[in-house]
Assembly symmetry: C2
Homo-oligomer: 319 residues x 2
């Protein structure tokens, strides 16, 4: 039997993941390449095309590839370009949709990784019956995908959903974007690390982090330390959740979502991050919104959400 499938590609700063996914979200194949090994974006796409060709050749099942969906930082849905992505090796504007299209000869759609995650949640995950929800991805930075009336919010220019850069503190922490006080300087893997070091200076608690230099601290260690009763780690999660919850209350005032999904490394900390976030959001919500909005882990937590999201993006487009 011939099965229709699409290619999902998630371009990250270090690794790019690729997979072949059918309409039900079954993953027939997955692989990865080192993104930063390819100075030339054409050579990079060539390498991905080679993987797919090898897979098609080896694969006994007959799959028809209907399209390619790509999630990438600073990817613009409207133009199909990746534009000035600070964390990718390629500078300037890269017309990835065009390059992929010329290589694969099928429809290609691009969006940023958080929007792809939101669509993945909508097509294959826990948001399958939701028309209005928010996806927050907590990685090195904070990404977000907004879904309103059943569609992703791209905005006028294709760059909507930059919640990592709402201001949560006037004259607050410096952000890589050039502004100060951006949400992601507090709420992200690097943000909570900064908070740990702020707490090491402001508090007197013993902590295992008093022996760790800034450059060596990894956000996973903060979860482990919280589990072990480390007070600085627990205070860091409380502070992080408090700031996130307060910011989410403002986002609720904008779009009134049914649910908010947290995804990514920091979300794996579970109740350490979910509980203070939920409490702070409720404290800051306008009365009419209180008690209505769930903060949930992604329904694709143990699956390859990045590749499934990119695949969902193109499935949604093909329909």
């Amino acid at each position: 039997m011939n099965t229709e499938a699409v290619i999902g590609i998630d371009i990250g700063g270090t690794y790019t993941k690729i997979g072949v996914v059918d309409r039900e979200g079954n993953l027939y194949y997955e692989d990865a390449v080192k993104t930063d090994k390819y100075d030339d974006p054409n050579a990079f796409v060539e390498a991905l095309a080679d993987l797919i060709q090898k897979f098609s050749h080896d694969n006994s099942k007959s799959l028809t590839i209907k399209g390619v969906g790509v999630g990438a930082p600073n990817a613009n849905y409207y133009t199909g370009n990746v534009e000035f992505a600070p964390n990718l090796i390629w500078k300037g504007v890269i017309p990835f949709a065009e390059i992929f299209r010329s290589k694969f000869n099928v429809p290609v759609v691009l969006t940023n990784d958080a929007n792809a995650a939101a669509i993945g949640e909508m097509i294959f995950g826990a948001a399958q019956n939701m028309q209005n929800f928010l996806m927050i991805t907590l990685g090195t930075g904070l990404g977000s995908g907004l879904v309103v009336n059943g569609g992703v919010v791209y905005g006028y220019d294709g760059f909507a959903g930059e919640l990592g850069h709402v201001c949560v503190k006037e004259k607050g922490r410096r952000c890589g974007c050039g502004k100060r006080g951006c949400l992601e300087t507090y709420v992200s893997a690097s943000g909570i690390k900064r908070t740990v070091f702020e707490l090491l200076s402001s508090e007197t608690d013993n902590s295992e982090f008093r022996d760790v230099p800034f450059s060596q601290l990894d956000s996973k260690q903060i979860t482990l330390a919280a589990n072990n009763g480390d007070k600085i780690a627990r205070k860091a999660f409380d502070k992080t959740g408090k700031i996130l919850g307060r910011a989410l209350a403002d986002t609720v005032a904008h779009i009134s979502p049914e649910a908010i999904f947290l995804f990514g490394g920091l979300a794996m900390a579970g109740h350490w991050i979910f509980e203070p976030t939920k409490a702070a959001m409720e404290d800051n919500l306008l009365g009419i919104f209180r008690g209505k909005i769930d903060i949930l882990p992604s329904g694709l937590l143990h699956k390859n959400i990045a590749v499934l999201g990119a695949a969902a993006l193109i499935w949604k487009e093909l329909e």
Copy 2:
């Protein structure tokens, strides 16, 4: 010739405006009733129906009424109810869509006044070619209507677009909603009045407002005083615009609109409010959004936007 028309109704705390509007936005008739004269919402709707009946009787032109659109505070598009509106005489949940429907026997749609203004701008005003924009209404409070992908954002529960209640200052001014630091406590007719009194205490400038008690100050006087060179009035506008612009930068990060419209009494202050707002928004925008977004006066500034917006709401629904 028979012309198709709709009834637009704007329910305010003191007055309710009503009009008959054709598809091109021509207003055939307008009138108003005192809202707070009617303890019973049925009697209130009866009074409005009487006006329409009288108009139909007197009117030589043959108009067919196709529907009724209603803008009202705390009106819910999904339920057709006005729910717990603090500024209306009727308490609790009032099923206005149902009451209007039983009286007029045509389709009835309700939404809040700011959403109605946004739809009015989209159908009859300066946003006719826009798919993504924001309407801010600056009255006693601050209302907002968000348009994304060509549709109003109602959210999961019908209450999206409460930008008046995003938090702009932790432990800031007390708001009627029970929270503190809400945008509308700074940016609205009552917000700027509070700012004038804050400045009278913090600054030493002479000002005509040093002779005016709080209860007597009207926001129009602040515009007149700014025109006359009053430093406190000018500082009040600068501060108001700065806070609004900063908040708008965060809204842009959410939905990336093409334009932001300011409407209502405070927007009539013109450059006194538009200039500091625009400057502060630009200062706080993420790089990719800078220089792209217009802050504009409503295209219906000298028309009855409230009635036209309510009429546009039902026209949009009928199409």
